[in-house]
Amino acid sequence: MRSINVIKAIALNTFRETVRDRVLYAIVIFALLATLAGVIFGQLSADQDLRILEDLGLSVITLFGGVIAVFIGTTLVFKEIDRRTIFLIVTKPIARWEFVTGKFFGLALCVLVTNFAMGLFFLGVIWFQTANFNSALPLFYALSLVYVELVLVIAMATFFSTFCTPLMSMIFTTGLWTVGHLSFSFDMLKELARDPKHLSKSTEILAIVLQNTMPDLAKLTVIRSNFMDNVFVPNSAILYLILYIAAYVVFLLTLSSMIAERREFS
């Protein structure tokens, strides 16, 4: 109970800090403008305007939500150290894992709110174009999966922020996020490595290692597209993906806590 109270306090404080950050509002405004751009692009296509708008809108929310997660997440711990507010926090009777977890949940809450706001705006634009909410439910499911993906990005950013400078954290987080979407490429790499013309055991092993350690975000994108195309997606597939992401998040937060435990603050 005590840990929950401490994590809640740090999370709410982090949320308050991030929603008052002007960079956040700039990113959200850009996202809304980019969503409106989907309307213009839609006008240029033949009978695909709604589909283009939906795809663009989802991509914009994913991309800008990710920008928020990366920009703010990679400075989460660094800012506390740089401004020395960390001295007041870690000299209180709290565990370092409570601090890291609280920072993570604070940013996750901020991204949830901004995604919800962008999603509402997006639905409003679609309604304005189509005068119906037929795509509301598939969009809601798709946006939920966008949020699940961003939670993983936040965990990555939190992890790197415990020991890297903001610039290196941004590079590593963005890199890992990108590699996560290339998981199908590892299958191709394995096949290529097994091809008698290009036989390479070391490449095959590398592909297997990367495939099993890097987060697999490509499947998330496939399921999102299936929602939008009204293709049936079994609940078990969704549950598996959510549990997979949750396990990855717990793993990253555990590593972050271990690093924070050993960190010195001079």
Binding site: A9, R84, T91, I94
Partner: protein
């Protein structure tokens, strides 16, 4: 026998530079003891190791070697931190929060109930003369107001042991007087105070004992009553300067500083 609150024996702290992995010894075999209810002043020139000492005692840094016990626990142990208050040098607070929100946040970290927090926050804001500014954002606070708020957060949990790092740094005479009065009040309440300062008049008025650090070593330690037999700050300043000059001359000749030997029982506070 008075209870020992801080016990340090042979403390060594090396810093290693990131790129060239060069080792720099910030503290070299420091030993000291602080007893319950004592006000101990750690003096020294800039770079002597005063802040490093406090950070080691609070668990912000880990010792390279040596024994350290704070309230009977290892530094950074939550059981000790629950009874400790800390005000770092030139603290930065969350500028977007008001004083109320700021203190409530730290009260939650002590797992205080809402009722206890409300009562304690009101009491402390009154103590540090910030009641009227309680709802103002901290970014609009003056330096003196920030220091007073910092003291308020250091006293939230009614600590037994209080660490203050240059609490009067950058304050005008009115601000310094306010902080000094608060520290004297804490001393009367029987709190143990460990503070770093360059302000010798405040050290003379508040401290029972002082230690002098130079180049990471304790070069002198004594009771303020014995050092300032005529009750003047000049005596403390002479004591301090004599120790530093002697140590520095030795360092220039030999490249080393002989530490003061902590080989006597700590005198009880009279």
């Amino acid at each position: 026998m008075t209870e020992t609150v801080i016990e340090v024996q042979g403390l060594i702290k090396d810093h290693i530079s990131n790129f060239l992995r060069k080792r720099f010894r910030a503290l070299d075999g420091l030993s000291l003891k602080v007893t319950k209810g004592e006000a101990y002043g750690l003096l020294g020139p800039n770079g002597a190791g005063k802040t490093t000492t406090q950070k080691l005692l609070l668990g912000l840094l880990k010792p390279t070697s040596g024994d350290v016990k704070v309230l009977g626990y290892a530094p950074g142990d939550n059981r000790a931190l629950a009874k400790i208050g800390f005000l770092p040098e030139n603290p930065y607070f969350y500028a977007y929060l008001s004083a109320h929100e700021f203190l409530h946040f730290f009260g939650e970290l002590f797992d205080m109930s809402a009722a206890t927090r409300n009562k304690r926050v009101q009491e402390l804001l009154q103590l540090v003369n910030l009641s009227e500014a309680g709802n103002r954002p901290i970014r609009k606070f003056s330096k003196g107001m920030m220091q007073r708020l910092g003291i308020a957060q250091a006293l939230l949990n009614d600590p037994e042991l209080i660490f203050l790092d240059e609490p009067n740094s950058g304050l005008d005479p009115i601000g310094r007087r306010d902080i000094r009065n608060i520290m004297l009040m804490l001393k009367e309440q029987g709190k143990t105070i460990f503070f770093n300062s360059h302000m010798l008049p405040d050290v003379k008025d508040i401290c029972d004992r002082v230690g002098v650090l130079h180049r990471g070593k304790m070069v002198g330690e004594g009771l303020v009553k014995e050092i300032c037999q005529n009750g003047t700050t000049q005596e403390l300043e002479d004591y301090f300067m004599n120790l530093i000059n002697t140590a520095e001359e030795e360092y220039k000749k030999t490249g080393n500083v002989t530490p003061y030997h902590f080989d006597r029982e700590v005198s009880q506070k009279q």
